[in-house]
């Protein structure tokens, strides 16, 4: 089920066998999917940081914006996986929660950068 021309959420279907206690996953595909998620989140944190800086968010508003962006990302990733997460990943946490705090530092950096350049010029 390869989706043409979409680098994000590469639809490498890792064979999720729905047997009671025997999940079987093709490790390479699983890792490639996880990497796609990581890249998307990193990219979105950077872009989100620049947007937050340009719009002049300060303090908590900025962090809330970051979490909103991450939540939107999780939602769209889940939609991309057609909501059958177990066909592509080994657990819900991968697609929903993983990597949120990793992107936080990049977000803060680019947020500070853009904010300074635009507002404290």
């Amino acid at each position: 089920m390869a989706v043409e021309g979409d680098p994000r959420a590469s639809a490498n279907k890792s064979l999720g066998d729905a047997v009671d206690d025997l999940p079987i996953f093709n490790v390479d595909n699983l890792q490639s999917n996880i990497k796609s998620i990581y890249y998307s989140r990193t990219f979105l944190s950077i872009i989100g940081g620049v947007i937050a800086g340009i719009w002049g968010f300060t303090g908590f508003t900025g962090f809330i914006f970051y979490f909103i962006v991450m939540a939107a990302a999780s939602l769209s990733l889940a939609a991309k996986a057609k909501f059958s997460v177990h066909a592509y990943f080994d657990s819900w946490s991968r697609i929903l929660v993983d990597g949120i705090f990793g992107g936080l530092m990049s977000f803060v950096l680019f947020w500070t950068f853009a904010y300074d350049i635009v507002h404290i010029f």
Partner: protein, 246 residues
């Protein structure tokens, strides 16, 4: 206390941007240098063998449900047998392996090279930043922090009434250090993301890997309870067919 300082545009042009650009360039440079300097270590036969044994044992553990109980047990004894099982490392030998790892000159050189290639650019850049860019406010971070952070973030600025959001260039350096990891992982391809912190963690756990992982695998295989999945497969096939026929 929240009066807005007006900061010189020249600071933007000559401090923030150059510092970030320099750090990105140094990161890229470091990546290529480490690629060039990677000494090709001829893999040690013993280490490769042990690695493969561990892989086999792991596959056995993962796929234990697919083979009948008797085969599983025979494979299990093959691995964990006390006398000549593959995973059983007698105590004396295991200590030796670790000591050997460390005194092996090639390996030590490799680790030292990796460490140095990490530490030197960081130290140099930090010294450069301190020398040239100290003593003035460099940036304003968009979120407020408490007074406790003042000493850390404003080290060159000796006024105590300035808002803590106005930071010195040293903190801009640290912010860049952590924030650019994500950027590096995007532009340099996969494995260069968390270079510094990840490598430091790897360094600490590196030398002991082989013998410890052998005994860990052995314990894993000993623990596992064999649950043959084939009988269930018949039932599953029956259910699937029934669904199809409906």
């Amino acid at each position: 206390m929240a009066e807005d300082l007006v900061l010189d545009t020249a600071i933007r042009d000559w401090v923030l941007v150059p510092l970030s650009v320099v750090m990105v360039l140094i990161g890229v440079l470091r990546y290529f240098v480490s690629k060039l300097m990677r000494s090709h270590q001829a893999p040690d036969l013993k280490v490769v063998k042990e690695g493969q044994v561990i892989l086999r044992a792991r596959n056995l553990r993962a796929a234990s449900g697919f083979i009948p109980a008797k085969s599983f047990r025979s494979r299990k004894t093959y691995f964990t047998n006390e006398e000549n099982g593959l995973l059983h490392v007698p105590k004396g030998q295991s200590q030796n392996a670790q000591a050997q790892m460390f005194s092996d000159p090639n390996l030590a050189m490799d680790m030292m090279k990796k460490n140095l290639s990490m530490i030197i650019p960081q130290t140099l850049t930090f010294a450069w930043v301190n020398f040239f860019f100290s003593g003035f406010v460099a940036a304003k971070i968009p979120f407020p922090l408490t007074q406790r952070f003042r000493g850390m973030l404003q080290n060159g600025i000796d006024l105590s009434t300035v808002d803590v959001s106005y930071v010195s260039s040293r903190s801009w350096y640290f912010l860049n250090l952590f924030g650019l990891r994500g950027l590096f992982s995007l532009i340099l391809g996969e494995e260069n993301a968390m270079d510094d912190t990840q490598r430091m963690m790897q360094m600490s756990g590196f030398g002991f890997d082989p013998s410890r992982s052998l005994s860990a695998e052995k314990d894993g295989i000993d623990i596992i309870q064999h649950d043959w999945a084939l009988p269930k497969m018949e039932k599953r096939a029956e259910d699937a067919l029934k669904k199809l026929l409906k």
